[in-house]
Symmetry: C2
Subunit: 257 residues, 2 copies
């Protein structure tokens, strides 16, 4: 089963990815979590020790040069569009509490150089992971879902768009929906987060007519306080954890592995 999680920055993608990863692992699945959002820190939220020591794939210059034939940062070069990546998942993942993790790192933008070779490697790797592996894969992505290719779209069982009660997060959900349609990805669902009241709930439903809602995670100040106290977010709020379990149960019967 392959799940991709996207949404506007700050809505809670990483928390949901972490909670789902743990719930799948506790239910006996082999889980591979993929951190594909450079502005997130899935390793820290999952409780990996020393997350700052994990080297993202995008920073492995020798690996990128070896596989694509191009040094990152050089402009006007030719590089392999389909680099070999099938041996990388075993080499470059870390594990903790039964969850395996790969960190993709920053996808660089142009300007001081052409970083297409790095981006091509990251995309090839993500597509390989989605297509080839038997595990449950839970991917924390930024709002741009360009890493997903047309060929990969059919492998994604569910693209979960996280929204919060704010107009900007709804706009981003529509943008993601359009990008998903462009690559032929149909299985989109929404999770509401930071829901404070019934009227927040109704705002989300009425703003996204026709979208499937997998759940509504309540706002809980305990999450913020746990974060500030540097405690695990995963156990900070029983009601949040519980709603993540409900979302898991909605995901599993649909596409059982």
């Amino acid at each position: 089963m392959k799940i991709a999680i996207s949404g506007k920055g700050g809505v809670g993608k990483t928390l949901l990815a972490s909670l789902l990863s743990r719930t799948f692992a506790e239910s006996g699945y082999s889980v591979l979590a993929i951190d594909a959002d450079p502005d997130a820190n899935l390793a820290a939220t999952l409780g990996f020790p020393h997350p700052e020591k994990i080297i993202p794939i995008s920073e492995m210059k020798d690996l990128i040069a070896e596989r694509t034939g191009a040094r990152p940062g050089r402009t006007e070069v030719y590089f392999k569009l389909n680099p070999k990546v099938d041996d990388l998942p075993e080499k470059y993942r870390v594990a903790h509490n039964g969850i395996k993790l790969m960190v993709m790192g920053r996808t660089k933008r142009g300007g001081s150089g052409c970083y297409c070779s790095e981006n091509v490697l990251l995309k090839a790797l993500i597509n390989h992971l989605l297509l080839a592996r038997n595990e449950v894969i839970i991917m924390d992505m930024e709002a741009g879902i360009e890493h997903l290719g047309r060929a990969t779209a059919s492998a994604v069982d569910k693209l979960i768009v996280v929204v919060e009660p704010s107009r900007r997060s709804i706009e981003t959900a529509y943008t993601i929906n359009k990008l998903a349609q462009d690559i032929g990805l149909q299985n989109i669902a929404v999770v509401g987060n930071k829901v404070r009241s019934q009227s927040d709930n109704e705002f989300l439903i009425s703003s996204l007519p026709g979208f499937e809602f997998l759940g509504f995670i309540p706002y809980d100040q305990a999450i913020i306080e746990a974060d500030l106290a540097n405690l695990s977010l995963l156990d900070a709020s029983p009601q949040v954890t519980n709603e993540a379990k409900n979302i898991y149960h909605k995901l599993v019967p649909v596409t059982q592995k």
Copy 2:
């Protein structure tokens, strides 16, 4: 005066950019606001009519082809690294309530094609705007500040990193600080947002020792409610507006134009 605003997704960069743009405009400055965050909507927050009709520079394929010599999306092409952009600011900006606006749009990632030509044009344009224009420029940027070049760094009077009381936003602030050091940008300051209490305030200060704080914007539920009711955020909370004015007064005496 040139101000760039960055920070983790969701911390409130766009609101601060909008409030500062309006405060500068009301004080008689000629303001150019630049939306350089594809996950934001500065036009909507500034109250521009029909923000969805503004075509971002990155989607002007003919313009990109004309200026860089490359069609967006094609791989393995040669393109001009220094496209001519000096005539673009007058052509491709919109104005409302005394504020001029340019929308940069998405900087595409590699994979389905090489978008370096688009990115090169966006970067050239931002650097041109920063170096050449006399206006107050307020730029809403994502956490990746790669658009700023080494030559441009000295033109930025202040890089404001917005943080909220959360560990992830502090981590992003350190990442931005490192990226800024890499391009020689020294004038960094921090604004705390969504501050609920004195202990939130102390958390931010103690998490960012050695950083200059320009202000602390209080959390106000009125902002969320105005957003849900589709009302202007800029007038929703007198205490938020007031703190933005305090920040303006801290910015202006430093580098008077």
